[in-house]
Symmetry: C2
């Protein structure tokens, strides 16, 4: 996970592109569908959806839909649209995640972009959700509506719970995983399940692939939380240390805190909460060694990935299965 | 529309309650369903959904579903749940409407409620949308998913367009009505249509009732825009003059502006935009006579209501039809 900057990221991107090769045409159709859904009559709407580009990322979730379908021998003409729905829901959550609360607006007041203010972000996210559900409603089977409305609800609950547990250093690992799972793993689980069983039937395979997606998604979130403590901004493409600034106590920090004496615990709490600290993450690294906590968290991610790989081994060998195995490895070793 | 304060509002509430009598038990079931949908396992979520109470209002939209069903002889066991979905979508839009942009946060910094910050409002609104679509997905017919996902998209587009046309005094009446229609009338139209034709069939009646709901909803919005210029805060229960503060140029102001000479036009633009004006609405009334513009807007609302009543006259006489006629009258004469 150590970053040598651009070249390593570029290499990782190339690996990722290779993994998506078995579903390349489906991914292309997925992207076309998303673009089409975002091209709306009104110039104001088009102007706004133009901003969605900056949230486009690795597209792992739609790839999961298509690869899970291929790997389980369950491919339909509607899979790319299904993948587009999943991607739009993900984009909506990213856009709404970007909304600033009062204190941040005040802190960043100098660089508030008038065109990209909170109301615009709220409306763009709502528009993406609405588009996703409208497209889902047009599919021939209702399974996607059922699964994705329920998943969206779980994501919201995860975000709400996370927000409620900010600055809570007594959070148990179980509760941390429940929140990270609801917030992140649930959409991976839904993507894998829908890929494997849409438009219906195949419930047993669907359930196994749901668990596969859940494990992979939870590992993804744990690694994400680790990268926020060790990554470089150039490599991960977003602000490092944001979790500490936001009061999110993630697994590596929880573990570090649990192993510390009372004086160190008080110090860690202070570094999260005391006003006027310029770089909280740097101060945290200066105060304590986060590496054992990081090692613990990464070992937990590896364990989840081993479980996910176990499920894959139940499937017949195929290019798609190999690609899913590659995704497992990517999640553990990614630096962005 | 002149307000004598509390007694008049109480009278209006009593009238409204009377109008809902033909669907009283359905409304009760609708409210139970909404409450049930908001009671979620996590304490943090329950804590948050407790805030929804302050957004509860006249519940005209769910009443429309039930009354349109009764009036067209199309009642099913699922109508109360359908009405609950419509109400939750409406609540979600209200919650998201309440999100402050950077400038407002700065202006209201002294009274920012930490518990009720922007992120909470975004998540609560998202949760309401997710709950609405999850419930809709459980209904036996997909019609509600189709109609309501599309309606939600239209509402977002209306809000986006409205935001883009702030401070635009060249807005035509046609564009104003397009925006107000998308933002407000579309959900009334969907409510009336779904009431009349859910779970399917009845397309001709559904279309007529869609138009009925559209006209009534557009009239509602026009009256709302008038109340923002003349109502008292006690009577309408929200801040008067908010549209002027937000740069929304509504029909009565557009009409006033169109009829003014260039000096007065410049004055009106200044009163909307110049920094440091304490009470923009008061300053606007001091500068020009808004009454002819208000009369024009209210005449347009009356015209829309006449069209809506014309559609009702095609239906057989019934208590529900009378109640819908009463709603038409209420929309024109309400003071809150």
């Amino acid at each position: 996970m150590s970053g040598n900057g651009r070249s390593e990221v570029e290499e990782a991107r190339a690996v990722l592109k290779g993994l998506m090769a078995p579903v390349q045409s489906g991914m292309e159709r997925m992207r076309e569908t998303v673009d089409q859904q975002l091209s709306e009559g009104s110039p104001a709407v088009r102007d706004m959806t133009g901003h969605v580009g900056r949230f486009r990322g690795k597209q792992l979730r739609p790839a999961m839909v298509l690869l899970a379908g291929e790997a389980t021998g369950n491919t339909t003409d509607e899979h790319p649209a299904l993948a587009a729905v999943v991607e739009m829901i993900h984009l909506a959550t990213l856009v709404h995640d970007d909304i600033l609360d009062g204190s941040k607006v005040r802190r960043r007041v100098a660089c508030v972009n008038q065109r990209w203010d909170n109301q615009i972000a709220v409306l763009l996210g709502d528009f993406l959700y609405a588009r996703a559900f409208a497209l889902s409603s047009q599919l021939s089977s209702r399974l996607s509506n059922h699964v994705l409305a329920e998943t969206t609800r779980r994501i919201c609950v995860g975000e709400i719970d996370q927000s409620a547990r900010r600055y809570d250093f007594e959070l148990s690992q179980e509760d941390y995983e429940k929140i990270a799972g609801a917030k992140t793993a649930s959409l991976y689980a839904a993507a894998a399940e829908l890929g494997a069983r849409y438009p219906g039937g195949n419930e047993v395979v669907g359930e196994r692939m749901h668990t596969f997606g859940w494990n992979l998604g939870l590992a993804f979130q744990i690694v994400d939380d680790c990268l926020d403590l060790v990554g470089t901004e150039e490599s991960i493409g977003k602000t490092v240390g944001a979790d500490v600034d936001d009061g999110k106590v993630t697994l590596p920090v929880l573990k570090t805190y649990a192993g510390a004496d009372e004086a160190m615990r008080a110090k860690i709490r202070d570094l999260y909460t005391m006003p006027g600290i310029e770089n909280r993450l740097e101060a945290l690294w200066d105060a304590c060694d986060l590496r054992p906590g990081l090692d613990y968290a990464l070992e937990r991610a590896r364990e989840l990935i081993r479980e996910a790989e176990g499920i894959l081994s139940e499937l017949p060998e195929s290019n798609a299965r190999s690609a899913l195995e590659g995704l497992c490895s990517f999640v553990l070793h990614r630096s962005f």
